[in-house]
Symmetry: C2
Subunit: 227 residues, 2 copies
């Protein structure tokens, strides 16, 4: 029987590609986990369900965790999302404190429950160099902590964190997904969609995504707001 | 100005003593964090508020996190709590997968928000040797991962996990709290309280606590159910 994995799935471009890689390239039996954390763009939760279904996730869970009560970020608190400003800030205002640390911890708990030995995350340091919890050295340290903090560590096993996209550029990520036959129209990346779910086309996430498709000479298949 | 700390506070005997140690012995400015995780004994959340108030917590937060959706434990799932059976099981049925990993991750996020450099946890390996996420090697590995996964790691700082009770026996823990003038009638430990909040006196947690007070020749000041 193939290995089992828990895949963090936001419904965005990166995590969806990571799931496609885990299921279609690695052949792992994948359980997916999404987080309802008070984010303003809850439309991504619907995208995660679509993507999980399209890629044959064995189970999909939405875990509620109230990051808004911790605060400190433009994605959950009452701070304006930056527009038209793809900058090189050290740590972006859209950073949620320790978000991947929290999400990976919940995924590690699920891994113990379903008997998975791998966590798969679409973390990437190329476009998100300002997010401390996307760095490979963090992911390695987390794997060690999670192994020691779960039954696996007691029983001599090892929980591995797989970050297949960590050093890929956005166009490379899109190419990988297309090679694996993944349909990017299912995904959702925008930090500030309208009520009908159309992407704004102006936030960091939209700008990065649009530029990547353009670099490949392709049109981004998601629906953008008409201004 | 004294150091700031985030203290994990369940309202039980251990975490309350850890908070008393952090505020009254170390003199740290403490922010407390409790978790509403679908536990059956929600009465402990009220105890945490009482203890936070009595010990001068600068802020107290209750973070909702839906561990029941992950499952796998008698404290959140529909499995009977073991009674009258203080055993030496390798991993107790009341173990919640990766619970301290998850709670420490949320505390690390709060530490970043409030500018704290220490996390304080009442973890203990003497009575809870079967819980992988109470072991010092896990706590050290977690501190390293959390440092790397937050701004602190990028900025050259270090997040420290303090587990002052980790090698203390339960009577030693109670002595420490009493020395610091802490009133244990404010706490709540029972896994299976009645609707009025009285402890059952028969679950693992009640048995361990009662035995510790008895070893000291003291009466446990919490209210037990009259059978």
């Amino acid at each position: 029987m193939s290995a089992a994995a828990v895949v963090l799935l936001s419904g965005g471009l990166d995590s969806s590609t990571a799931l496609a890689w885990a299921t279609r390239r690695q052949g792992w039996r994948c359980h997916t986990i999404a987080f309802d954390y008070g984010q303003r763009h809850r439309i991504e939760l619907a995208a995660a369900v679509r993507v999980a279904d399209a890629l044959g996730s064995l189970s999909h869970r939405v875990i509620k965790v109230d990051l808004a009560a911790i605060g400190g970020s433009a994605l959950t608190a009452d701070i304006a999302v930056p527009k038209d400003a793809l900058g090189e800030a050290t740590i972006p205002i859209t950073y949620v404190p320790a978000r991947n640390l929290i999400f990976l911890s919940l995924a590690a708990a699920l891994a113990e429950t379903v008997g998975a030995t791998r966590l798969v995350i679409g973390a990437n340091v190329v476009d998100y160099s300002g997010y401390p919890d996307c760095r490979p050295e963090f992911l390695d340290a987390f794997a060690r902590a999670a192994t020691l903090g779960t039954k696996m560590g007691v029983e001599g096993g090892r929980l591995v964190v797989e970050a297949p996209l960590v050093r890929m550029t956005k166009p490379e990520i899109i190419c990988l997904g297309l090679e694996l036959g993944f349909d990017y129209s299912l995904t959702h990346s925008c930090y500030d969609p309208d009520a009908a779910g159309a992407a704004c086309g102006r936030c960091d996430s939209c700008l990065i995504r649009q530029r990547a498709f353009a670099d490949l000479g392709l049109a981004d298949p998601v629906r953008y707001r008409v201004l």
